[in-house]
Symmetry: C5
């Protein structure tokens, strides 16, 4: 097909009237990247942003292209990485730290025949790519939501299996997601306003759609943060309750035995003239019986006070 | 009546000069939905939003209709669901996950004669429907407010019947309501500005009225969140107080009996030359009497210290 | 006087060139209210807002009047209620739930001769009335501030007289005041901008003055909320300190008596060959003396550790 | 000098072409104040604001003057008070509750020859005065910052000398300063925009300078609030740690002595056939020795568990 | 090179057509500073801001220059200091408290041949300098992030090595960084808008780049603050858990020994008619055996209750 993209994983000359997607994975081959920057008229400042891997997600405009940088979340196989897109009239340059599986479905779509994406302009292609990434965020938010519920379940029912650091690590993950997703609101808002060069009017509803998802995501993050906050409180109060239970056992045992131990101590004193009871045959049994009665009475008292 | 709505639960051709309301319940019959989307010129993106059931409540405008998506709260019978409205010049398409009882009163109104709604434009009809849904939110907020008071009552008077997770679950319900009602502010604000196509000037005061309710709702949610926050603190402090009471009992019992147990231990020692008192007839009674006096004195001391 | 207001507690026809104030107290006589609504051209939506008693305080504009709804705080005699004002060119309709004493001073002013209010336009009259209500809020905020200080005093000095629920209830009262006063900022801001129909330029400084008070009030509410938040923390820490004190007593008593009780136990053992000391005349006194010395040493040790 | 200010502490007629500063201290002489209000064309509403001493700091504009009201902080001698400035083309009226020392340096400057202030317009004079007051706020913020550090030092090192109410009172002072300084941002922002009548362009940089200080002050207040918040947490955790230490002592003492007291109890039983050891010469010493060894082993065990 | 900067550490006359950078380190030589202020037409207010060392970071504009003041963070050798830049058409005056090493790389660049900076306008030079300073902030934020993780590690694994004040001090450092970096957002936003005199269009992307870094920094500070907040909670809950462990040991020991000590006390009573068991040969062993069995049963019971 005439409109098909030329996909390349290295240097590729821009061809007039042909759509090109240059995919750079790995930042070590600086020379190629510089070469591409030169051919596609990419400013050095933008290239440096793409190469330094701890950039704030953002969008920037130049005269011949616009520039997006985002973060791809870690997957079971890969660590978190940064990806940058340079979008021109009929070309797209993407620079990422390593090959990520997240964008594979889009690459597949480009390869399958009769797919609309195949003959669409670079703005639609970059939408498909960034939408995939934003989707990954939503999936992560849902995972974190389920983890929150699982943790909650655990805190309530088996608090001894939970540690404060589990909750704290969970909260950090939420804060991290929130931090890298917050700038996306601004980014997609800009793209969905329809005043961006190289973004055609027909692409605006798509970016608008992604913007709605990102808004929803950011509210989800807020709710998650509030909920995980509450989780810590529930955990601390469950520790308090456990302490209460331990103290109750100690107190009940002590309160029952301390007084009757005093009684045995009393009759253990070495007085010459002991009370008459010590001289009777039934004395010992009587005292022990009294101790038992006293204990039972105290147990009832605790039951009445709802301690047990 | 000539102005009456044609209500249909399936595919229905739009008829020029006739008002139509197509009510789709259930998202399984994709083909009918696609067919309706085609006939009423609904864009695919909007339809997809209506079909994916975890959308952020929002309003969107197209050239021939506007599109609202909201959530209907769970009722005793039904789970929470998403409902979407497509509002055109003289037609309304609603797509929901299942048949909900919430909108029944409006449907009844449409059926009863001499009702104004019957001959009103679709914007008024969609107002009636969304207002019902927003009303449900207000009712839920009131329920949560009453639950808050009930929980409060319980925490203060019978803290042992409360668990931290009850309060936490209550707070989650509040956060959920807050999250799904927040976007409604934006939605009804847009509709009450009177610059929306297909919303006639005469409908604006109605949407303005609903907007006021939603504002009130969002402030209620904030207050609820703050109050439920405080509830957890009251609960934790009630646990602390209970612990204090338990510890007090243990301390009082220990403090009274430990010293007098020492005294009995003292006279229990096997010295050949015991103090003179052990040889007297009144010695035993005297020591026991002293222990009782000591105990009583300590009880008075605790009372004075306001421990009891 | 020709400019005097015609005050009426029921239906009253508007008279051209005459100022009228219709005061409706009680919402049960729906027919009269509907009748008045008709004569004064009040829209049904506004009337419904006046009749449903849980409205968000707000201001709304119609072509022939503007509409204010606010809440009157509870007084010792009366419960909290909603009051609505409809202000036209030369008439004022007020609808409240029951007769409240709060507005009496203004009614008196209207009755007394030579009072400016008597010959002023309805906007000035409605300012006098709403200003009275806002004043009541300021008084309540001051009361809550004094209660905060009293609670604080109590928490610090007599924590046993305070319960967590007292602080919580206090905080709820603050949150309630905050919630019903927040919308007043918007309301009086609108009125003090001078672009409102039926509000003459000469009244604007008066509304501006009330707006300043309401701003001050809202900041007071924020400060109150923060302070009451801190109060709970002080209370919890006072519970902790009390627990510390109780535990200290238990620990001191236990730590002193447990070792010396062991000593008495030691000499209470039934060995045939006991240590020489048990056979001496001074043995008993010596052991008891040793116990006393040990106790005193421990007391000094606690004092040195600043436990006492 | 011709441009010198006529300073007066009572009624003073405005003189055309002469600069006047009327300083009213004390609000009891209502008649003089009313008289001045009349001569300088000051509206009654503004005068009332100057007389009621619990006003929100603000700025207001009239046709012939502008009106500022602020609070002067308490000094060792004086309580907090309100001061109001009415600034006209060539006159300044200040109304304060009592004579405050804070403004003395400015008054001195006015008196000393060759001082620029002497021949400057009232806007510059009012800048000098309000800048002095804002400076006092900055000094107070610095004091509170140092107090925060001192309290922190104390909490960390001598927590027993600190009470929760000390921290709470400290926090209240911060909240109070924050509350009365927040409106100053708005006030000086208005003055530094250069669109205010009676404020010459040459004065704008001065007000801009004060505005910068006030911005810095407000951020300082935020930081102070956050820090004092943390202080309470450190205090509560220091109470917790103290409790831990107390409990550790109790637990160590109990855990060592309870088992060996059981041993002595064992040999204190009155059985006819006691174990052989009770009949040996070395039995007593052996049992006591065993108790000592057990205790030492337990102490080592605690040391290994890092309890000591 | 003709375009080279004349760098001077003291007074230097501005030369038409030559670029000058006057670097003042140390604020004691007031006369030189005043002299420079005169020659370069710097207003007194700006100079005073540069001399008083506790200014809010800001940017201000005058007709012949613009003025930036920022803070340089403390390094291992130097304390935190303030630095001010006055940027004119072809000159730059910097005033700092002492010589700082942070700017050395830029000074080196100016010295090395063929460096672009050497022939650039003062706005680019001031960008290089302020970017260095902002970079230092980012490095500090990363350090604080790593410290947070280290503290977290410590709190979770070796809580006894952590004190509340360590966490508090850490949080203060974060709050301090946040406070001095917040105004930078405003500062660089102003510079990156491209409407600033003496900032050429070609410099705007550079300032925009720094602005992005500062935005990222401010979000990092927010996340750090939230995380350090959580750290305190984890710490307090780790104290609670430790307390729980201590109390468990105490309770287990007490609960095992208190009942069996009662048994020994029972048989230690001096009754004439003791139970038959005290007269048997196997009595003593039986009772001790019973105590051991009871203890073992209790240990199993605790194990089952998951206490151990």
């Amino acid at each position: 097909n005439e409109n098909d993209y030329i996909c390349s994983k290295g240097m590729e000359e821009p061809v007039e009237g042909k759509r090109t997607w240059v995919q750079i994975s790995g930042l070590s081959d600086i020379r190629t990247i510089a070469e591409i920057g030169k051919r596609y008229n990419i400013s050095n400042l933008s290239l440096e942003d793409a190469l330094s891997t701890d950039q704030r997600p953002k969008i920037e405009f130049a005269s011949t292209y616009f520039f997006i940088t985002m973060r791809i979340l870690d997957t079971p196989d890969k660590t978190e990485e940064q990806i940058s897109f340079f979008v021109g009239k009929d070309w797209l340059v993407s620079i990422s730290e390593h090959t990520s599986d997240v964008l594979n479905p889009v690459i597949k779509q480009l390869g399958s025949e009769d797919n609309r994406l195949r003959s669409s302009t670079p703005d639609r292609l970059v939408h498909a790519l960034t939408d995939r990434i934003a989707d990954q965020y939503l999936v992560r938010a849902d995972e974190l939501d389920m983890q929150t519920e699982a943790l909650e379940e655990l805190v309530v029912n088996q608090a001894e299996k939970v540690t404060a650091s589990m909750i704290h690590r969970h909260k950090r993950a939420i804060l991290h997601l929130r931090r890298i997703s917050m700038p996306l609101k601004e980014l997609f808002n800009t793209l969905s306003k329809g005043e961006t060069p190289f973004v055609s009017a027909s692409s605006v509803p798509f970016f608008r759609d992604t913007f709605d998802h990102v808004l929803w995501l950011s509210e989800e993050c807020e709710t998650l943060r509030d909920t995980s906050q509450g989780l810590m409180e529930v955990y601390i109060s469950s520790l308090d309750m456990k302490m209460n239970r331990i103290m109750k056992v100690l107190t009940i045992i002590s309160t029952i035995f301390i007084p009757i131990t005093f009684i045995t101590g009393m009759y253990g004193m070495n007085f010459i003239h002991m009370p008459y009871i010590t001289k009777t045959a039934w004395g010992f049994s009587f005292v022990i019986g009294f101790c038992i009665v006293l204990s039972i009475w105290m147990i009832f008292w605790f039951k009445k006070k709802k301690w047990w």
